[in-house]
């Protein structure tokens, strides 16, 4: 059945099965920036923001997302207009294979919003407690979030939502 979703500030009708997870619904409708890792809510690769809160999209039934706003990593920043978190990840070398990066960036975005850009080390480690990375050893990821925090969130890239051309 077709259900209207608010994804990256755009209303889209997605073809969804009643027993389908949000992860599956997003990926089957072209939002492949949301990665499928463990499918058990352990790795955080599938993280999206739902009403500005990070959730494991593999642990959410798509039908329950009615009336909620979903944001994928492309709603935060794009290849041509990256968010400062994404820039900080690149600068710090915080991604290697890149598979965990969309989820890491979603979690980092939420940490900075929750702490008004002044996260403590504890805030960062707690905020990333649902994200696994098998390449970097986390040091560079923590460094990237700290560096991104130094840039004010008031400079948040609102433009990507408008220019997001994915679907």
């Amino acid at each position: 059945m077709k259900i209207p979703f608010n994804i990256n500030s755009r209303i889209k009708e997605l073809e969804v099965k009643p027993n389908e997870t949000l992860l599956s619904a997003l990926r089957n409708n072209g939002y492949t920036e949301v990665k499928c890792g463990c499918s058990e809510g352990e790795c955080g690769a599938c993280l999206v923001l739902m009403d500005e809160k990070p959730v494991n999209s593999c642990q959410v039934l798509a039908m329950s997302v009615r009336d909620k706003k979903v944001k994928t990593v492309k709603g935060i920043g794009t290849l041509y207009l990256p968010h400062q978190i994404q820039k900080a990840f690149v600068k710090a070398g915080a991604d290697q294979c890149g598979f965990c990066s969309p989820g890491m960036i979603i979690a980092s975005y939420s940490i900075l919003k929750e702490t008004e850009n002044k996260p403590t080390k504890e805030d960062i480690t707690r905020g990333l407690d649902g994200n696994l990375c098998r390449c970097t050893g986390y040091v560079k990821i923590l460094e990237a979030v700290e560096n991104a925090a130094k840039t004010s969130l008031t400079e948040e890239t609102k433009a990507p939502e408008a220019v997001c051309t994915n679907m």
Binding site: P18, N19, G41, G44, N56, Q59, M63, R66, G130
Partner: protein, 285 residues
């Protein structure tokens, strides 16, 4: 696996949800994390509780009313902001992970009671009650909710009620191999102070063979005792939880560890009481 022809309903009142729940194969959907983890068989209808208006934390007549649709994250946030229900806030801040805490609801977690639950020990220590709706509203202590088998019946949880007790010193500890792993067990203790003595005590553990256990003999050993000379060793003798062994730990190892954890927690609480007394003295002087 949930069936492809699964039906969804989005009722706007708890009464409507109770009515729908009577249908065969009907099940409530809150955050949905347990449904996806356990893949329950025979589910034909999911009743989403999101529109029932149960996402509140109210403070009325010295008691907290936590709606069943409130997530763990929201409880942790409320606890930190208001500096209230700290025991519950602390326990839930370590449950699962941030994205999962944003989905797990107190109602869903109460109804499912997974063996690694971080919710039950603090709720029982705080003498929490749960109001449910079947044919009519019913209120049970959280202990009775499990022990009397109400948990297994079809019902809608309205809210959890926690009295805001004064002079209650409490703490919680969880034992897990890694910080972000499911706990092997969670312990909680609440000591009600009256003047210079312990008026009431509650010592609870979850993760044991029978899901949870209160150590009533140990509690009785503490009741009525002077704060300056608590018989902790006497109380600890009655800490005898029964565990199921698993591939990581034997039952005996878990039992010994639980006793050590209770010892640490009670020592921390008595230190806290002494500290509070000293602070009061210094203020008076």
């Amino acid at each position: 696996m949930l069936p492809e022809n699964l039906e969804w309903k989005f009722p706007s009142s708890a009464e409507e949800a109770v009515e729908l729940l009577r249908r065969p194969g009907a099940m409530l959907h809150g955050g949905g994390t347990r449904i996806l983890k356990t893949n329950p068989k025979g589910v034909k209808l999911l009743i989403d509780v999101g529109a029932l208006g149960l996402g509140y934390i109210n403070y009325i007549d010295n008691a907290f009313y936590i709606g069943s649709d409130v997530t763990f994250s929201e409880i942790v946030k409320y606890s930190k902001k208001e500096n209230k229900i700290a025991l519950l806030g602390e326990a839930l801040s370590n449950a699962a992970s941030t994205p999962l805490r944003n989905r797990i609801t107190i109602g869903g977690s109460l109804k499912d009671f997974p063996i690694w639950s971080s919710l039950y020990a603090p709720l029982i220590a705080l003498k929490a009650r749960v109001e449910i709706l079947k044919d009519k509203p019913e209120i049970y202590s959280v202990e009775d909710y499990v022990l009397k088998g109400v948990i297994k019946t079809k019902h809608v949880i309205r809210h959890v009620i926690i009295d805001d007790e004064e002079n209650l010193i409490c703490g919680v500890k969880r034992f897990s191999v890694l910080r972000f792993e499911y706990p092997v067990f969670t312990i909680a203790a609440a000591l009600k102070i009256n003047g210079q003595t312990i008026k009431d005590a509650r010592l609870v553990i979850t993760g044991v063979k029978k899901r949870f256990k209160r150590f009533i003999k140990a509690e009785n050993a503490l009741k009525g005792q002077p704060l300056g000379d608590l018989p902790l060793e006497g109380a600890l003798r009655h800490i005898n939880p029964v565990f199921i062994p698993d591939y990581k730990f034997s039952a005996r190892y878990k039992e010994s560890t639980a006793r050590v954890y209770f010892s640490d927690l009670l020592n921390e609480l008595t230190e806290q009481i002494k500290g509070d007394d000293e602070n009061e003295d210094s203020v008076q002087h």
